[in-house]
Symmetry: C2
Subunit: 472 residues, 2 copies
């Protein structure tokens, strides 16, 4: 028998019940099925709350904490879910789901009006563009000065970035496949969290809470980076942001406790540079583009893999990204039987400091000047179209630097490619079934890292107690 305790105010209304055995249960009015308690759960008084409501703030203080979630191994983190109260709408038994699948990416402005905010966030991010002590002054300054130019670029590619559309589509499609191939963690619920554009990390997190995850109700969420290759500037920055908002909405800054009972259990898919499905999707797009050349010219076409560059200060700090991008390129060429000559080059350098080269634009210019005009540009570090493909490669490089030579082409981005989406599902399934928190590699801080944020983030995702010595 369940006894209603009280209602919490605004936001996602949640009802809290306590069973005679002391087991708590909450009813979410959100349409998404709420989380299920673990079979070995201890009965615990757990309170579901709406964000920032006075009731919620009062409730936070009453949270009990019979077991502390200080474990690094994913299986043992799951044990903390044992203390989670079952929501009343829980209707599937014997399932580990629902599982929130959160696609993380940098994002892009969906309209030209969002460009200013997008750039402002981007240049304020020291993980991405380290501007030193003057970051908070220089960031907004640079972004304000660049806004009109970048707005014109977005106007030229149709008025905004398609990255939100593609990310939401990919994630939803992946979840459908996952429900089928990984039923034990179903249902899989798609979320997108962008670092610099809507939906921002905090918006995603609020939605998660509204949908019945966390805040006493536990539940499992997977942060799935959409950068196949790990960089502290990209995936690292997204994880820092996720850790920050987790702390504000569910952790110490929300409850006074670092690990209150019944928070969301996070795990991370932090890199997948050479997953065979990813490699297959890239290879097929290259083959499709090669097929556009007359057969006698095909073997002499040069493949120019292009990835976003990094400042040398980041490379020299030990960032793993250049090596992982190179691994993707090699895997794709291996899949293609090394049928063509190729180079890996780097695009989108900004500002006067040293960046990793050779530059994509210079590369195209040099080869075209030598009369070599059969080139395929292959974006290898982003999976969806965005300004760096649609404007920088298609408008600037293909038209300006390649002087419009018809032999200079670009391979399609992966976008809605079903081979790619199947790969995403396979990667996610493998992660869910292995039950790991993240890759072992993620536990290792870069040799030159001085970021406390990065240290704390790793401690959180790896689990506080069993933090690898490598994260120190």
């Amino acid at each position: 028998m369940w006894v209603p305790v009280h209602w919490l105010g605004a936001g996602p209304a949640l009802q809290l019940y306590i069973s005679e055995a002391g087991e708590a249960k909450s009813a979410s009015h959100s349409t998404f099925p709420p989380v299920r308690p673990q079979p070995d759960g201890q009965p615990t008084l757990t309170v579901a709350m709406s964000l920032r409501s006075p009731a919620a703030q009062a409730a936070r203080k009453t949270l009990t904490r019979p077991s502390i979630s200080r474990v690094s191994h994913y299986g043992r983190r799951l044990a903390s879910m044992a203390t989670v109260a079952p929501p009343v709408t829980q209707n599937s038994v014997g399932q580990k789901g629902p599982t929130a699948m959160v696609f993380m990416n940098m994002g892009g402005p969906s309209t030209t009006d969002e460009v200013g905010d997008f750039l402002s966030r981007l240049f304020s991010d020291a993980d991405l563009i380290p501007l030193g002590r003057l970051q908070s002054y220089l960031g907004p300054l640079i972004s304000r000065r660049r806004t009109p130019k970048i707005q014109r670029q977005y106007a030229e590619i149709g008025g905004g970035s398609p990255i939100r559309k593609w990310s939401e589509y990919q994630c939803a499609e992946m979840c459908k496949i996952l429900d089928r191939i990984c039923p034990e963690t179903a249902p899989h619920k798609p979320y997108v969290a962008f670092r610099y554009a809507k939906p921002l990390t905090e918006e995603m997190y609020v939605r998660l809470l509204e949908d019945g995850f966390g805040q006493g109700r536990g539940g499992r969420a997977v942060a799935f980076t959409q950068y196949p290759q790990y960089s502290c500037s990209t995936t690292g920055s997204s994880l820092n942001e996720l850790w920050k908002w987790r702390n504000r909405l569910e952790g110490k800054r929300a409850t006074g406790e670092a690990n209150p009972v019944g928070t969301i259990t996070w795990s991370v898919i932090d890199r997948w540079p050479t997953h065979p499905g990813l490699v297959e999707a890239f290879a097929r797009n290259i083959e499709a583009k090669l097929a556009e050349y007359p057969e006698e010219r095909r073997k002499d076409v040069v493949l120019l893999f292009s990835a976003h560059s990094l400042p040398m200060s980041v490379v020299n700090r030990g960032d793993p990204y250049p090596a992982e991008v190179a691994a993707t390129v090699h895997a794709v060429m291996h899949r293609l039987g090394f049928s063509n000559a190729y180079r890996l080059c780097w695009q989108s350098q900004v500002g006067p400091s040293a960046w990793l080269g050779a530059q994509t634009s210079d590369t195209v210019k040099e080869y075209v000047n030598r009369g070599h005009t059969d080139l395929i540009l292959v974006p290898i570090a982003f999976t969806s179209d965005h300004i760096e493909t649609l404007y920088e490669l298609d408008k600037e490089v293909l038209h300006e630097y390649a002087q419009g030579h018809p032999g200079v082409k670009r391979a399609e981005s992966l976008n809605g490619n079903p081979v790619f989406i199947q790969a995403l599902a396979d990667i996610a399934k493998d992660h869910l079934q292995k039950g790991e928190v993240c890759s072992r590699q993620m536990g290792l801080r870069c040799q030159g890292c001085k970021s406390e944020r990065c240290l704390e983030q790793k401690k959180f995702f790896m689990g506080e107690q069993e933090i690898m010595p490598t994260a120190r």
Copy 2:
């Protein structure tokens, strides 16, 4: 019936015969079985000569040239061997051998007395250390100033580099395996050509000629780089040197003709960064070193792959080396099931210009300072021990930077490792049986390349007429 024509003087004495059908045949007194003509050979008057002898110089002028070896495809280059005269000691029929297998590497001084010459050659090589217009002035200056210090380093590692010993051993052992697994190109004859130490490229080339290859007698030789990953600074420099000496001893500067009849037919194994045998050999050495740690610490040991760095000017020119080193690292970690966290770092930076980082020494220092003292250094771009492993890693990094922590170790170099030598044989067999001149990738000049030497070398190895547009 064979009719003796005349003897040529000093050096390897060779007898020249002309058959009634006009087919030529020479007898080498070297112990090595001389080359065999192709079955479809056209009868041609071909002269064997000893290097620089007056008779040879006279003979060069009489060389006829019924077919010009201007072909890029290896099969078609082989056709130029069709014009080669069979040496009289030819005793194996139905064979494509003998085949010269030439290991190319930078080399190292075998004694401290050779250090001066070694450094002088090294700092004079603009392919390796680009010093601009002042190369010929700065190179000797730097090498003279560094000689005493480097001599002391070689003294500390036993008085010289073991690289000659290892190279000769590896090549000889590989040839024995090849004779067994690739009998159609047997016998395989081992040669070593170092870029900066004895045996130098020209010494190797003279030995080849003395042993019955080339100078009218044709024959096949494979330039097998011992740098698994291609850099214009290393393999490229060795190929430039080989092209130069081929030109001086057999080509235009020797005979007045770019492609005289009966020269050695060269092909190149130019890179093998992810060959499964190489990867297996590296992985096993790492596993052996990991097994030295107590089991409970083993999974937290960090693997630090260390490769010789490159100046950023070379990286930004488009040199493929950093990406290929990264591919090796990724393949080794894949083979190890990503069991440990790892980083790729770069060693042996010299001088004030910018080099690719993060630096190996800084990396070890940083991790040790953070209290992380279980580290394995893995030399990943050299296969044999040399000063960079025995002195720089073992003396400087392990003892100075790691402060002698016993948890900081180095994985063995491949040296005489039988898994590695089997891999070399497998790579060579694959190359010999495919009949390719070199990888398609070798045909592509770097985007920032301004070197005429590099262009001419590629033209030579790819074949002049069918040179890929990418080499332009």
